[in-house]
Symmetry: D2
Subunit: 343 residues, 4 copies
C-alpha cells in the first residue's frame, strides 16, 4: 500500500483527492490536513464522505512525520507549496496541484502569480504532469507539478498540432470554466445570486495558465512560436463543474476532417482517458470523471478543436492520481475508471 498524505484537504482539490483515494485499492491515507477545519472529522467538512471515512483533519502547519509517507499531495493555495517543499524529505514523492512549480522561469512566475518564487532551486526537480504527453518522465519522477485545469484542456487539444508543426499563425483559445474552479471559499464571483444567471470573461489577456501552456508546447516543438502565437481567454460558466475549450487555428495546408481525425486518433491511439466525441463534446458527459472528450471540425484551412473535461478531476485531482499511479509503477487507470452519470 502506498502511504499517502494530503496537505490541504478541505478545499475542492483535496475533496476530490479524498473521493478518489479512499477507494484506491493500493492507497492508505495516513494524513490529511486543514487549517481552519483542523481537528474536525473529514466528513464534517465533506458530508458526501459520511460513512466512508473516519479520518480527522490534522493542522496543516504542525510538524508531521513526512518520512513515514510514500507520497504527499499538496492541494494548497498558490504560494504555499513553495514554502513547504524544501522542508520535505527527498524520500517522499510529491505531487503539487498548485501552480508553484510548473514554470521554470522565475520572472514569468512573478509576472503571472504576483509574487517572488522562494524555492526556484528545487523547481528543476519537478516534472510537468501532463500524463498523456509526459508519461515516461513521470514514471521516473519524484516530484510532479500537476497541470492547471485550463492548461490540461488546451495542451491536450493542441499538442498533436504543435508537435506535427501543422498549426500556424494565431491560435485562439476560448475557454470556459464552472464555478468550482474558483475554490471552496465564498467570493463575489461565486456568489450564487450573481453567478447563477451569468456568463462573463475574466483575467483578460492575463491568465496564469498561459505561460504554462506555452512552455509545455515548446517541449513539443521548440520553434512553434516563430510563426505562431497563443491567444487564450477565460470565461466563467454558471455550472459547478467543467472546462470547455474551443480552440481555433490555421493549418499550414488545408486538411480534410478525416486527415485531422487521423492525426488525432493516431496521437491518442492508446489513451484510455481520451475519448473522441461525435459532433461536440459536452461537459455534462465528463463530469466527475477523469475523461477528456475531444472533437474537431475543419473548414478550409481553419480547424476548431473542442475539449471538455472536469476541472477538478482530469484538470486537477484525477490527473494527480493518474500520475501517482505511474510514479509507483502501478496500472495507470487504477482508482480512476468510473462512469459519470446521465443525467
Amino acid at each position: 500500500m502506498i502511504k499517502v498524505g494530503i496537505i490541504g484537504g478541505s478545499g475542492y482539490g483535496g475533496s476530490e483527492l479524498l473521493r478518489l483515494l479512499l477507494f484506491h485499492p493500493q492507497v492508505d491515507i495516513k494524513l490529511v490536513t486543514a487549517n481552519e477545519h483542523a481537528g474536525k472529522r473529514v466528513d464534517a467538512v465533506h458530508p458526501n464522505l459520511a460513512k466512508l471515512t473516519d479520518l480527522i483533519f490534522a493542522p496543516t502547519n504542525d510538524e508531521h512525520n513526512f518520512a513515514e509517507l510514500d507520497c504527499v499531495f499538496l492541494a494548497l493555495p498558490h504560494g504555499q507549496a513553495m514554502e513547504l517543499v524544501p522542508k520535505l524529505p527527498q524520500s517522499v514523492k510529491i505531487i503539487d496541484l498548485s501552480g508553484d512549480f510548473r514554470l521554470n522561469d522565475a520572472e514569468v512566475f512573478k509576472e503571472f502569480y504576483g509574487r517572488e518564487h522562494t524555492a526556484m532551486q528545487v523547481q528543476s526537480e519537478f516534472v510537468y504532469g501532463l500524463t498523456e504527453v509526459k508519461r515516461q518522465q513521470i514514471k521516473e519522477a519524484t516530484r510532479i507539478a500537476n497541470p492547471g485545469c485550463f492548461a490540461t484542456a488546451l495542451e491536450l487539444g493542441l499538442y498533436p498540432f504543435i508537435a506535427s508543426g501543422l498549426a500556424t499563425g494565431k491560435i485562439i483559445a476560448d475557454l470556459k470554466t464552472g464555478s468550482s474552479g474558483s475554490g471552496a471559499k465564498p467570493a463575489a464571483g461565486t456568489h450564487h445570486p450573481k453567478r447563477a444567471n451569468s456568463f462573463y470573461a475574466y483575467k483578460i489577456f492575463a491568465h496564469q495558465h498561459q505561460p504554462e501552456v506555452e512552455q509545455l508546447l515548446t517541449t513539443a516543438n521548440k520553434d512553434w512560436q516563430q510563426d505562431s502565437t497563443l491567444v487564450m481567454q477565460t470565461h466563467s460558466l454558471p455550472t459547478v463543474r467543467g472546462i470547455f475549450a474551443s480552440i481555433y487555428f490555421t493549418t499550414r495546408v488545408a486538411m480534410t476532417t478525416d486527415e485531422i481525425g487521423g492525426l488525432m486518433r493516431d496521437f491518442y491511439a492508446n489513451e484510455f482517458f481520451i475519448r473522441f466525441a461525435k459532433g461536440s463534446p459536452d461537459i455534462n458527459w465528463v463530469k466527475h470523471t477523469n475523461f477528456v472528450d475531444l472533437s474537431w471540425a475543419v473548414s478550409g484551412d481553419t480547424v476548431i478543436v473542442f475539449v471538455a473535461l472536469d476541472n477538478l478531476v482530469k484538470g486537477a485531482s484525477g490527473q494527480a492520481v493518474q500520475n501517482m499511479n505511474l510514479m509507483f509503477g502501478i496500472e495507470e487507470r487504477t482508482g480512476l475508471v468510473m462512469a459519470g452519470s446521465n443525467p
Copy 2:
C-alpha cells in the same frame, strides 16, 4: 414629487428599491447611501442600472439633512434601523425593510434576533406594512415596518382562514426561498458550487419571521391560537428569486374547493397584486414583480394553500413602494405595474 432617501442602497433590498423608484413617476431619489461602496457610482455596484442613473452612493454614516426628505427607506442589516430611527426627524416618513420594528414585544425580539432592542420606545409608532390587510392604517402611518418575505407569503395565504375562524389545529407551513434572500454578501450558504445543486432546511423551528406572522394573525383573530398552532419551516432553493409556501391546515368543517375558492375570491376581490393561479402557482411567473400568486386544494378537512411571490419585490422592496404610495395618497399601483417574463 416625493423626495426619497434610500439608506443602504448597495444590498439587494436597496438594489430593488432603486430599480423601482428610478422609474416611479412621482419620486425623486435625493439620497442613496452605502458603506464600503460610498463614493462610487450606483451603476458601478449595480451594473444593471447603467445609463439609467448618475447617482453616487453617499456614506451611510455621514450626517445627512434628512429634514429635506419626504420619505426614507431603510434597507439596512437587522439591528441598524433601530440605531438610526430615533435620530430621524418626525417630518420624514420612514419605511423600514428590516425586522427591527415589526415585533411589539422586546423579549420576543431578543429571542429571535439575538440582541437587545434599543429603540422599543418608538416601535409603537410603526404600522406593520402588509398592504392588502393593513391598508387603512398604512394610509395614515408615518412609520412602516415592512413585512418579511416569508411572512408576507404566509400571512396572505392564511389571513382569510384565520380571520374567518375556519382554520384549526396545527398549521404546517413548508416554506422555500431562493438565494437572494440571504443578501448580497457572499457566504457559505450562497457559494455557487454548493448552492447550485442543493436543497436543504435551515433555521429549524427557529425562523425570526414566525413571531411576526403570529402577531399579525392575532390582529385578524385574537383567539386563533387557542386551538391552533403555527409550525413553520424554511428551506433553501437553488433559484435566485422566489418564495414558495405550501400551507397545510385543517378546517373546522369539511369544505369544498369551491367554498374555499369563494372565500379567497371574496377576500381578495379588489386586490390587483393578488392573482389566483390554476393548479399551482410557480415562482417563475411572479419573478421580478409585485404579484402574489395563490392557489388552493381541498381533500376532506385538509386544505393546502400555495403561495408564490418574489422575495425581493412583494417580499421586500415592491411592497415598500406600495406602502409609500398609500402613505403619500397616490395610486397604490404606481410604479409597480410590470410584467415578469416568460421564460
Copy 3:
C-alpha cells in the same frame, strides 16, 4: 457471475442501472434493450459510458432468450411491465422499477395509474423492495416491485414512527424532486427555459406513490390509519437530481430530540446506506449515491423528519441493485459503495 438483462435501457432508470452494473464485480450484462434506439451502441445514447462498454441496444419487443438470464431489470414506462412479466420464465428473477406491481389492490391501481391492471394474478409473487425494511423477504423473493422514489424517502422517514405507534393525527409530507424524476423524454414540465427558475406543486392530492406508502406502512402497523392520515404533496425542484422530504407529524406524547434520535439510531443501527445528518440533510450530499440522509427536529409534540436521497439511485436503480444483491446472496453493498462529490 449473475447474467443480467436490462429491459428499457435508454431512459434514466436504465442509464443508472448501466452505470452501476457495468462496474458490479459479479454481474455480466447479457442484454440491454431499447425501442427507438434499438441497434445503436449504448454509449451513443449515454455518452457518459463511452470507453466503458461496447454493448448495443437490442429491440425491446423482440423475442429474447430470457431463460439464459439470471435476473431481469424492467425499467419500462408504467404499464409495460405488466405486459411482459407473465411471459417471462419463472427461473428468471425479476426486479421491476415501475409502479406496475407495487400495489396489491387492482382498484387502487386503476385509480392512481389510470388503467386496468392486466396481470394482477401474478402481483402477489412480488415483494415490495424497500430494502432496509423488507430485507428478509427480499432475500427469498424471485420478483421485486422496486419502490418509487418519493415512496422510498417517505417510508424510510416514517417507518420507525409508525411501527412504534408514536405518530398520530395528520402526517404532512411535503416532497420535492429534481427534474430527472420526469424521465428522459422532453416535455413541457422539463423544458429548460421554464424549469430552470421554477418551483411549483404538481399532482395535487393525487400522487400515485401515496397508496404505495400507505400499503407499506400498514405492514409496519396495521392499525396506524385508525387515528392517523397521510397528506402527501409533491413539488418540482429546479435541480436535476434529488428528493427532499419534510415530514411533519404529532407524537402521541411529547418527546425530546434525544429520544427521537435514540429511536432512529436504534432502528437504523446497522444500515450502511442510512446516514444521520447534522442539522438538515441536503440533496447535494447524496447525489449520485445510494445513501439516504436523515435528520429530525422536535418542538413540543411536533416532529419534523427530513430525508434526502437521489431519486435515480436509492430512489430507483441503486435500490434495485441492492435488492439484486440480496436475492443472489451476495454482500448487499456490492457495487454500491461510492462517494458523491463535493462540490
Copy 4:
C-alpha cells in the same frame, strides 16, 4: 395609437412582444394569434401576464382583416413568414422576426435554411433592422427583416472595425446562447436534466446567422472580405437568457486600448442602448432589457471585443419594437427604457 397585430404570440418572441407592447404608451394590440393555443386567453399560455391583459389568441391561419392594422409583427417559425407576407396589404407595416427576409440571395437562403425561398420577389422591400446601423433606412421602411440574436451581437461588436477597415485576417467569433434561443417547444437540447449541467458547441461551421452577418458587414465595407474571413461558432449555455460573444481579430496596425476605446465611443456616441462595460460585460446585467453591453481588450495587434445582450429582447422582440418606433416616427426608446435586476 398604433394598431398592432402579433402573428405567432405563443412562442418566446411573441411572449416578449406582448410583455413590451402591453406597456407601450402608443400601441394598441388588436390581434394576437396562435396555432394550438388558439381560443385560449393569452395569460393561460403566459401566466406572467395574468392581470395585465384579457387578450385571447385568434387562430393564426384564419382570415384576419389586416388592413385595419398599422403594424404586424411576425413571430413565426422560419419559413412561415414568406408564406404570409405576400398576402398582407401594402398599407400594413411588417416586422418579421424570423430569418425569412434577411438574406438577399436565394441560393444562400436555401443553403442555410434548407428550403426554397417562395417569396424572393418581395425580399428587396425589406430593410435589415439593425437599428443602430440602419436607422435612416428603417425610418423610411415599410417592411423590416429583424436581425437574428447572434447576428445582432456580432454585428454591433464588429461593425466599427469593418467600417473603418481596421480588422484584417481571420475574425474568430465564439458565441454562446441561453436555452430560450431554442424556442418554447420542448426538445432534446432543452431538456432540463440534460441542459442544466451542460456546455457544448452546435451547428459547427454552419449557423444560419453567418451569411446575414457577412451581408450586413458588406454594407459597411464592400471589400472587407478581400483580406478578412469570418469564422463563427455557436455554443449552448445552461442559462435561460443571454447571448455572449467573444470576438477575436487582428488590427491592420497595433492599436492601444485607448485608441480602440475612442473608436467605439465615437461610433456609438449617441446610442442609448449601447453601454460600455468595465472589464467584461455579463449577461446577468442585460437580461430582460434592450441593452447591449460591450467591452474590449487589446494586446499587440490582437483585439477581443466582448458583447452581451438578451437574445429575446435586443436579439429579437426589443429590437423589433425599437424598429417600430422608428417606422412610426415616435421616440426610439418608447416602451423600452427599463432596468434589468440585480440579482
